[in-house]
């Protein structure tokens, strides 16, 4: 059995494993890279960015030494632009579209974006001002990327915005769900501060439906935006799930972002079930906690995996093993109720079905047992169905239905954006799309009010 690669990981100082992996560009690297940008006109990278950041302009501003202006250009188009510079799958978005792919090599757009926003962060810049108040109140449920983005735009447009956030801090998965070594929570906090600076009130530790009723919100605000994202990882539906040592991947990562790093996984054997963003983060987190062996079990194959190529590469470099076409059957405990092993079965893929995806079916008699100390569940996220029902919104298995142009739900006064409208079978949800939807929701609301104002005038 191979052990994880030693080089990147320290077993003596586990906490250092959770520092950001990439140090960021030096001044010189940034200047050289910025000057390599062609400053294309009508550049394809702009179109490839879901938030439409004017990339050549922000890069030109780094080259000219106007780094504040550069950060402003980025954050204007993308209120979550600092986080996105770290977690966006850039080779599928902006960098993938760079014209230099056809001649030399693409510009490191993500790293340059990080350079400019890091500068703004280090220099305590406040980039935006609240607009003149227009008297309309908006309640936003959920302070993740989608809610923050909508709030920032509405704040600039002069709306009276209150975010209700269940957690202790805003930022959503950026604060709690994406591992520190890719996205430190300070970055997310800085974005939250930018939102607060446009006069947005954020009520943390306030879970709608528990700490404040749905009715109260619907009655007291002119507009409500639902941006609650998705919920915890669902159950596998197999025996042994409540044993000690079975974790929800998101909860698992959250622990590392909110508590001192523990050494309880040093030398342990861990399996992660699933092959999306969450599985990768759970697995690489385990490696960094000092686990001796980390395996990802996935019932389909590499081709169907929803994690991005860069994530897959990252996990492989961390020494994570991938077991394709493998499904868990039951988790086996010891006498103390702790995980001891997991029984799995090999799968094979059928011909592509109606949805174009090939279905995995078990191979008879291929059962086998892996000795493990912990099992991390990362098979997607469940939905906040009860809250959505309580709000009386039409939905499809927890995916809130909206008008695609206006982000309006079945209740005219309620809008929804972000993961809460992210449909099934669409690959992985992205921070950058949540940010863009937040913006578009804000504009749709504004358009609705300016239109009625014009009509009545």
């Amino acid at each position: 059995m191979s052990t994880v690669k030693q080089s990147r990981i320290s077993y003596d100082h586990i906490a250092t494993n959770f520092q950001e992996v990439h140090p960021g560009l030096s001044n010189r690297e940034a200047i050289e890279e910025a000057n390599r940008c062609l400053y294309c006109y009508d550049a394809p990278c702009i179109t490839a960015c879901p938030t439409g950041i004017d990339i050549p302009t922000f890069i030109k501003k780094i080259a000219s030494g106007n780094v504040k202006g550069s950060a402003t250009t980025i954050m204007t188009a993308n209120p979550i632009g600092a986080s996105c510079s770290r977690v966006c799958p850039t080779e599928e978005l902006c960098e993938g579209a760079c014209v230099l792919n056809h001649s030399t090599k693409p510009i490191m757009i993500g790293n340059l974006q990080r350079y400019a926003t890091d500068w703004a962060m280090k220099n305590d810049q406040i980039l935006f001002k609240a607009g003149k108040k227009n008297g309309t109140s908006v309640a936003i449920i959920g302070g993740g990327p989608a809610g923050l983005s909508a709030a920032r735009e509405l704040g600039i447009l002069g709306y009276d915005v209150t975010i209700f956030e269940a957690a202790e801090h805003a930022g959503g998965l950026n604060t709690y769900g994406i591992v520190s070594f890719r996205l430190p929570k300070e970055v997310s906090f800085w974005e939250v501060k930018q939102v607060e600076s446009v006069d947005v009130t954020i009520k943390t530790n306030t879970k709608v439906g528990v700490d404040i009723s749905v009715r109260e919100i619907l009655d007291n605000y002119d507009i409500v935006i639902l941006a609650i994202g998705m919920s915890s990882v669902p159950n596998l539906g197999i025996e042994g799930e409540d044993l000690q040592g079975v974790y929800d991947a998101i909860e698992f990562v959250k622990q590392t972002k909110t508590h001192p790093i523990t050494d309880e996984f040093l030398g342990k054997k861990i399996v992660v079930i699933g092959a999306g963003n969450t599985a990768i983060d759970g697995a690489t987190c385990s490696v960094r906690l000092g686990a001796e062996n980390v395996k990802i079990l996935y019932r389909r194959s590499l081709e169907e995996m929803t994690a991005y190529d860069f994530e897959y590469e990252f996990a492989k470099q961390d020494g994570v093993e991938f077991r394709w076409l493998t499904a868990p059957l039951r988790i086996i405990g010891d006498d103390h109720g702790n995980v001891r092993a997991i029984e799995c079965i090999k799968m094979e893929l059928t011909e592509a079905g109606e949805d174009g995806r090939r279905k995995p079916i078990p191979v008879k008699g291929s059962e086998f047992v892996l000795e493990v100390d912990a099992v991390i569940k990362a098979i997607g996220q469940s939905r906040y169905v009860s809250l959505i029902d309580e709000m009386n919104l039409e939905h499809d298995g927890g995916v809130v239905k909206i008008n695609e142009n206006t982000y309006q739900t079945s209740n005219k006064k309620v809008f929804a954006c972000g993961d809460v409208i992210f449909g099934k079978g669409q690959g992985e949800a992205m921070v950058v799309s949540a940010a863009q939807q937040g913006k578009k929701t804000a504009y749709a609301i504004h358009q609705m009010f300016t239109k009625t104002a014009n009509e009545t005038a």
């Binding site: 001044n27 010189r28 000057n35 400053y39 006109y41 302009t57 030109k60 501003k61 000219s64 030494g65 106007n66 504040k68 202006g69 402003t72």
Partner: protein, 428 residues
């Protein structure tokens, strides 16, 4: 938000960024696009008798892969009829009343020709005139452009003729193809110029094709010298602006031109005495949109420094620009190498060893690592090592405490002079 408005010899502009008289200002369509992008003013492509141009006009010099380090052209003045240009100037001014439009003019060195064009142009409403005494090719062969710009008497006389009838401020654009630009600048002020602008392009040949042996560019196998501009000419232009700004006989505002591509270049020109700047090559390389960063960068710079108005920095470096004879001979700087930052390319060593004062030693530290060290007693403070060093912060040029009181060459000569006199007296 700092106040970016400028006032150049009575000409108001919403910001100091103007497009220079050149292809970007050839038509109303272009100038209107430029104003929409944020340019504060435009000096229209030089008006005069419309000319014929050749095809294959521009060439650029790349430096180690960086495109358009320098730019060369053999284009002449406008190739469009005066009436068309005037109509478009009028339309543009009407659409953008707060933006600055300057008409650049070039006619034969005859009084009646100047009177005629000035009256025509002012009749349609411009904010000022710029007299093009600078174009180094084509027009010079016809006795115009730099041909008259190189003769101080002609500059003075023609400026005077223009001033006889002009009602708007007159800017005289100077050619750099002259030994001492302050001479023609002074001539312009004697002729009554309200402002001067510099530089026009510098005589140049962009290159020779080593396979065909043709010039670059060539027109059907033949070439002619062109005018050079773009980033490469900035230091030349900056010096000329500085020389005029510090000259006590030249007391008119200066519009700075030559190699300006960013807000930083702009700040340098303003500090060195320009009241505003004009840009051509950078716009030709990237389009009008570059002005957004120029405006924002300048504004952020002023805000960071707590300066309320851009006019407050004009000329702030001029008192620091002087003659060699006024520099302190006893001021001493030396190079210091920070070996923890140094990446051991040894470029500083070989530069100093082969071409300066042989004072950077390649040594081994106690732990066996290679280090570079300056023998400060032999270092003359030439800066060469820090110039060739590829890493920021690896070489510092540090000031040594002055052991002797400051003494300039002029002071030294004056002191020697009095001593010599004393000696003479003693001898007698």
């Amino acid at each position: 938000m700092a106040d970016l408005r400028i006032n150049l010899a009575g000409i108001q502009s919403p910001n100091p960024f103007w497009l220079a008289s050149a292809p970007p200002t050839n038509s109303g369509y272009q100038v209107q696009r430029a104003f929409e992008a944020g340019w504060g003013g435009a000096v229209w492509k030089t008006l005069g008798e419309p000319i014929l141009n050749v095809s294959s006009r521009f060439a650029a010099v790349s430096f180690n892969g960086q495109r358009v380090a320098g730019f060369n052209n053999i284009e002449l003045i406008t190739d469009r009829p005066l009436e068309v240009n005037l109509k478009e100037i009028a339309e543009t001014k009407k659409k953008f009343p707060n933006h600055t439009i300057i008409a650049s003019l070039m006619v034969e060195p005859k009084q009646e020709k100047w009177h005629e064009i000035v009256k025509k142009v002012e009749a349609i409403g411009v904010d000022g005139l710029e007299l093009n005494f600078g174009c180094p090719h084509g027009m010079a062969e016809r006795g115009m452009g730099s041909a008259s710009g190189q003769v101080p008497e002609l500059v003075e006389k023609q400026t005077y003729w223009v001033k006889e009838v002009a009602k708007t401020p007159v800017i005289v654009k100077l050619t750099p193809n002259i030994t001492d630009i302050t001479v023609t600048a002074e001539a312009a002020t004697r002729g009554g110029a309200d402002a001067i602008s510099m530089i026009n392009t510098i005589n140049s040949l962009a290159g020779v094709d080593i396979d065909t042996w043709n010039t670059i560019p060539h027109v059907a196998g033949k070439g002619a010298h062109g005018g050079y501009c773009g980033p490469a000419v900035k230091p030349i232009a900056l010096n000329m602006v500085g020389e005029c700004a510090r000259n006590p006989h030249i007391n008119v505002p200066i519009s700075g031109i030559g190699g300006i591509s960013s807000w930083r270049d702009t700040v340098e020109f303003l500090l060195m005495g320009a009241t505003g700047v004009q840009v051509c090559t950078a716009a030709m390389h990237h389009g009008f949109r570059i002005v957004e960063d120029m405006i924002e960068g300048l504004n952020n710079y002023l805000d960071d420094k707590g300066i309320a108005s851009v006019m407050d920095i004009v000329g702030k470096s001029v008192p620091k620009y002087s003659d060699w004879g006024n520099l302190d001979l006893n001021y001493k700087i030396v190079a210091r190498i920070n070996n923890d930052i140094c990446i051991n390319c040894n470029k500083c060593h070989i530069a100093c060893e082969d071409t300066s004062h042989q004072c950077i030693d390649m040594l081994k530290a106690a732990n066996g690592e290679s280090i570079l060290q300056v023998r400060e007693e032999d270092c003359v403070g030439c800066n060469l090592c820090s110039i060739v060093c590829p890493v920021d912060g690896a070489i510092d040029m540090v000031e040594l405490p002055n052991e002797l009181p400051p003494m300039t060459w002029n002071e030294r000569q004056a002191a020697l002079g009095t001593m010599a006199c004393d000696a003479d007296i003693i001898k007698r």
